[in-house]
Amino acid sequence: MRDTLIHQRPWLGLAGAALAALLAAAPALAQQQAPMLEDMVESGELPPLEERLPENPLVVEADSIGTYGGTWRMGMNGGGDNGLIVKTVAYEGLVRFDPEWQSVVPNLAESWEANADATEYTFKLRDGVKWSDGTPFTTEDIAFAVEMYQDPDYAASSWIDNKNNPVILEVVDDLTFKFKFDTPNGMLMDELASVNGIHITSLQKAYCSQFHPTYNENAAAEAEAAGFSSWALYLQDRCAWGWETIRFANPDLPSIYGWVIDTPLTANAARVTWKRNPYYWKVDAEGNQLPYIDNLDMRVSQGVEELTLMALNGEIDFQERHIATNVNKPLFFDGQEAGGYHLGEVIPSASNTLVLQLNLNHDDPVKRELYQNKDFRVGISHAIDRQEIVDVVFTGQGEPFQVAPRPESPFYDEELAKQYTEFDPELAIEHLEAAGLTEMNGDGIRLMSNGEPAKITVDVISALRPEWIDMLEIMQLQLGAVGIDIELNNIDRTLFYEKRPGNEYDAQVWAGDGGLEVVQEPRYYFPANDESVWAYKWAQWFNGTRPEIAEEPADWAQEQMELYRQIRSSSDPEQRADLMKQILAITKEQFPVIGVSLMPNSYSIIRNDLKNAPESMFNAWLFPTPSPMNPVVWYFE
């Protein structure tokens, strides 16, 4: 049952909290802590464990009770790889996803309630949680974070300052607060449990307020003395938002993570290291303070070659990121015995290896009409020999697939996933001719209604996924055979994004995000956000970020948008699932984007002596693996 990405009931959280409280109460006698901390307590450097843990610490269940010690070694690709840190250490929001990505469970908040129309949420924080510097984590810190995110001088943006529906905070007492919204926000809990939830818990008022002129009248002068041109830049340097790279360059910034910075992430760091947070507020089933592992060691490598060799040599304890490429799989498989590791299963959240997004809002009326013609898109889809691409590029891994929820998802619909995927050039030609492409020029390319050849320039960033070029080159030949000319335009990422507001593209290519997080990432199912490149102007009409280029969408898309608005305002999970299915039904009917094949599973490298680590996990950004699998209970045997 993976239906869940949408339907967490508020009372589930309460029940979970009650259970956790029970579990915590029972074994409280034998609480233990890491030997290194025990020594510090004895020497008086640290208060005793009871004073450091909250009243009601979060109990993390695991297969086995572990032992303290060890260093978890992993690798970063280049200096700007904050993603690894976020996904490993920094996922500590008010709530979190359970390891199966099925429901939202308590984290820093021990319980919460929502009103019926999803405009008011009441949260209760765990009593006695402390920042890594030993000061209490309270609603003051939540209020400060809201204030900062909504301050235009603090350059960060998230759901907190979403200008269509910003958070209105009401502090009740030290541990209780309310989020209120003018418009219903039925998806708030999913947002809070995702990686975006860490924004609200990332800024300690006591430390960060000293850089803001509201709290410190000398802030501007101090910023200048520190070599910054404005207090805002100094504040952003010392107290960067949520997962900004520079945040991990400041070891003085208090946090609530399981590990705190030992060697910071600077431009010249050869490695980033972390040591255990003595004030961490989670315990195992026997009441022992977590985490088990003493230190994290992140090697900063300029490229993946060194990391690959390190993994083969058994110098990486757990990692999927960067090194788990398709090409290297046989190499890692063969090296298991020598390297003392084994491979775990990683299920990607993306549905598709390549999404061909024709620009339905093209400025050229001829192309716009053609691309909006469903027969044209169906014709292209039938002209692609997907099995050949799967065999050649992915060594047979994956299967022909459209852009649709993955088979693991409760929204999986075989028809949506498989329609128009059979390779049939004659059928393709039939559809293309139905779309009005009956004439051909001397080169065998079909002519559009204005007499120009039907040439589609496809923007692609090969640096992001090298296999895209291989796939597109095969598709180029296959589509050429039915009279459609594909031109590859391999460009840099910046230009790729710059072209969108200007509407200067025929088609762009990306991977199929939203295969599991169907409701939260619906970019291909209807024109939902800036990543809906296939209908960028329609998406602007929907989300209102760039009203100057917005355009009224087709009726079917408007119908989907209306349904999605209802999802947002519904607090009933079943109703939300039902509405999403209606959206997907329209997607199936309209067939807006063309997919190639199901994204094959990836793999993780797991050292054999690392226990409690997941043999199988989902991988996504919103579900920032491996953090939801609770690395704090992993240990070395």
């Binding site: 010249n268 490229g303 060194e306 990422r493 910046t494």
Partner: protein, 329 residues
């Protein structure tokens, strides 16, 4: 000689001014700026950035200003020793680059020395014993060295070290010395880690040097003064070393200035592959993220090194070869 050096130095300064303008312009040529690449990076993780936030940042970073204003600020800052701020790392550029440039100069300096140490004797031998077995060997190895890209050679060495010795090659220091101060053990640790990258970096250059030296020397050896020297009864060693070799070295000395930039740009991929903390990968990253003051500073400093190198080679040439005249009168 003094006048010659002064004239050269003035020309050098003017060149640097021109280089700084061109460098600054080139960095700004790609569409967008640091913030657009920042937005692109955020968007790909599904983050929507409020345009107002970006506008604010643009003002804070001074990115909206016209080219000449930005350039003037940058240049006047440099004259006061301030290279500007790195957008990505929010740190003064001068704090970031010296360590990396130091590593680059150290590694590449060693590579140049190794290059000369290997190439000179082999080149001379190959010319003097033309078409001998040794010459053929040197020629074959030389062509292989020229043909194999450095980074590929680096990959092979890394793979072999892993397969044969179970060693992971990467970086310049062992973990315990990464952040330590310089000391005798750290120098030893550096050398024991650095010899592989140094050899890799030196291969292509060595091969090239052998070929050039051999060709130059072969030209010289045929000349009558060599025969005369022999007829006068000089020993063979002295005959060859004193005159023809000295002349054959001329083209090598005049290219000293180009060695550094060639090595820095040639070593980017090697540095990425072998994870060397040199200026190359930092330059590459700052260019892709459009972190313009950082990229600008690295390019400018490399240009300074090139220009200084050229000056040194000019002076050396003038000193080595009395036939060279100062100035063009």
């Amino acid at each position: 000689m003094v006048g010659f050096i002064i004239r050269r130095s003035i020309a050098m300064l003017l060149t640097l001014v021109a280089v700084s303008i061109v460098a600054f312009a080139i960095i700004q040529l790609p569409p967008g700026d640091y913030l657009t690449s920042y937005i692109a990076a955020l968007s790909s993780t599904g983050d929507q950035v409020d345009p107002r936030v970006i506008e604010n940042l643009r003002v804070q970073y001074g990115l909206g200003e016209p080219f000449y204003v930005q350039y003037w600020k940058w240049v006047t800052g440099i004259l006061q020793g301030n290279f500007g701020h790195s957008f990505e790392w929010k740190r003064p550029v001068s704090e970031l680059i010296w360590g990396r440039l130091g590593n680059s100069i150290m590694l590449e300096g060693l590579a140049v020395m190794v290059m000369w140490l290997i190439a000179l004797p082999i080149g001379i031998y190959a010319a003097v014993r033309k078409y001998s077995l040794g010459d053929y060997l040197a020629t074959v190895l030389g062509f292989i060295g020229l043909a194999v890209p450095n980074f590929f050679f680096a990959l092979i060495v890394m793979y072999l070290a892993f397969v044969w010795f179970g060693e992971t090659i990467g970086g310049l220091y062992s973990p315990e010395f990464e952040t330590a101060r310089w000391s005798l053990p750290r120098v030893w640790d550096f050398l024991s880690n650095a010899w592989i990258p140094v050899l890799v970096l030196a291969t292509a250059g060595t091969a090239e040097l052998i070929r050039i030296l051999r060709a130059n020397l072969l030209d010289e050896l045929k000349k009558p003064y060599v025969t005369t020297a022999r007829a006068k009864g000089l020993t063979e060693f002295r005959t060859i070393m004193k005159y023809p070799v000295r002349l054959a070295l001329n083209p090598l000395i005049s290219t000293i200035g180009w060695l550094l930039p060639a090595l820095v740009s040639g070593s980017v991929i090697v540095s990425v592959v072998m994870n060397l903390p040199t200026a190359g990968p930092m330059l590459l990253r700052s260019l892709t993220t459009q972190d313009m003051y950082l990229a600008g500073a690295i390019i400018l400093l490399l240009s300074v090194l090139t220009v200084v190198g050229t000056l040194i080679s000019d002076i050396l040439l003038a000193w080595m070869d009395p036939r060279i005249r100062y100035g063009s009168k």
